[in-house]
Subunit: 332 residues, 2 copies
Amino acid sequence: MSEGPHLTFDLDQPGISQGHLVVPKGADCEALSLSVFSLNKGAGPRLLITGGCHGNELEGPIVARRLVEWLPEAQTCGRIIIVSVLNPPAVQAFTRNTPIDGLNLNRVFPGRANGSVTERIADAISRLLLPMADTVFDLHSFGPTWDFPPSTTTHPIADQDLMAKTIKMAEAFKLPMTLVWDHPDTPGMFDISAHNQGKVFVCAELGGGTIGAENLAIYEAGVRNALIALGLIEGKAECPIFRQRKSSQTLQTRRPADELASPARGIFEPRCSMLDEVKQGDLIGILHPMDSSSAASTDIRLPSTSIVCGIRSGGYVEVNEWLALLARSLAH
Amino acid sequence: MSEGPHLTFDLDQPGISQGHLVVPKGADCEALSLSVFSLNKGAGPRLLITGGCHGNELEGPIVARRLVEWLPEAQTCGRIIIVSVLNPPAVQAFTRNTPIDGLNLNRVFPGRANGSVTERIADAISRLLLPMADTVFDLHSFGPTWDFPPSTTTHPIADQDLMAKTIKMAEAFKLPMTLVWDHPDTPGMFDISAHNQGKVFVCAELGGGTIGAENLAIYEAGVRNALIALGLIEGKAECPIFRQRKSSQTLQTRRPADELASPARGIFEPRCSMLDEVKQGDLIGILHPMDSSSAASTDIRLPSTSIVCGIRSGGYVEVNEWLALLARSLAH
């Protein structure tokens, strides 16, 4: 008899409890045990915090672990469930996708009980943890190949009431950017499953570049602000200081115009920084051919006046790879 | 008859000239053409600037290309040869080592004429370009997995006169750190070949993290400072501003005490930043096990009072991987 996904402990017990979410074995690997931390302080908001969906985005797992240290003292009501690493095989391999089946966990929700390991993880989360929460914070990051600010993001949601609640929750982090991102590749994403169950889902994209001590403090402050807004902890929310600025803005993108794709392969030299306001026709980067003796460089200019949400870190890019993601202020 | 490595143009012609260094074909691949830019303004210092030794360190190629734009106007005497990409196959693959033979170009100098492609590149550089210069600036970077300041480095050199000249040249960049690095893995490095020919060789480690517009400006300013010190261009050298600081210090490391290795595998959370001065016993990071429910985290504390040259970006590390590189002020 094959055992279904299950928890090794009773999530309903009051106070702190800790145990595992067991993802059953399949043809491709043995059962996995995901560490689950639960803080149950009775009536109030029910929040699920997840990290480590992609194995090379480790700001989330680190910030989630920090919460485990101070939340038991700070939380005043409600219930918080923390899964700091959703995808242990991917984190161990430090890869975006699960190395065992090559799948992207954030493209297989709600998962399949009899699927490959990534689908079984999604199935276990969807069936056993998602129903326990009204709000989800999923902690991602843009990774080292982009200059991208600490931010919260959501996709456009057809249900206008849920959209408004989601933007309000995302803004409560008070990170430098809140982004309504018209994303091209949504089937199977975790947020779609959550939206289908009527839940508020905020994806934190914890920036690009090096995961250093200063950035981690900003990310932690953002999550703390959101917990204050939910009424789960007491305190005063404050914009964290990021690159000498203490500000927060809400932006939106439109497909496909805001996805600036590379016209050629070559070495990309960024000439602006994230959150720069750039005018139509301004230079934002240069694409250099490998052989500078026989081919000229190509200036990359902005097709329309925009705010630069993120820009590729200097690197070798292929044709049609994104060089920048553009946006403008959200008309509330 | 097999053709040896050769230049497609006459490096001795006055003024600007541009062409290729041809690395002959071998059993493993066709001939490569490396773009070479030469500025010959007669008597004076003879400098070789190289970038793209490692294919995933692209600050060097970008800064080298910028020099090609403004040096023709600025250079007043002497000769500068620029090879912005030493290893085109590695840059195209965005990998440290050459994908064709798996070799690290900076471990095969002085190369072999009949070796694999990486050895043939080293041979062509060693025989045709290195003899044309008295000074070499080789532009590297620490890459995205470290928090590391823009810096110049040299290994300890037995010849005390050459060591003093090299440190003076490295300090002339006025970058935040000049490092005399007691490196464990020196055979076959480019600098050893250059030292054996009595040349001053400075390796610029252009920092860690995202390659963004601000950092590129700092790197370019560093190279400009060094060109002023050599007397190749006119101007006033100034420390570039990096993270609100405008300072420059010279440090040294000692093996193996200054290489802080990980005692276990896990998710590394950095708790300090590069160039922090940290006391013996202070916490500089935490190593988290994948399964926080059944295993405790490990505090990483400093074995002796030091300056942190560089610290690993948050990521998954294996046992004995370096977590930090420590140093102290150089006793001149």
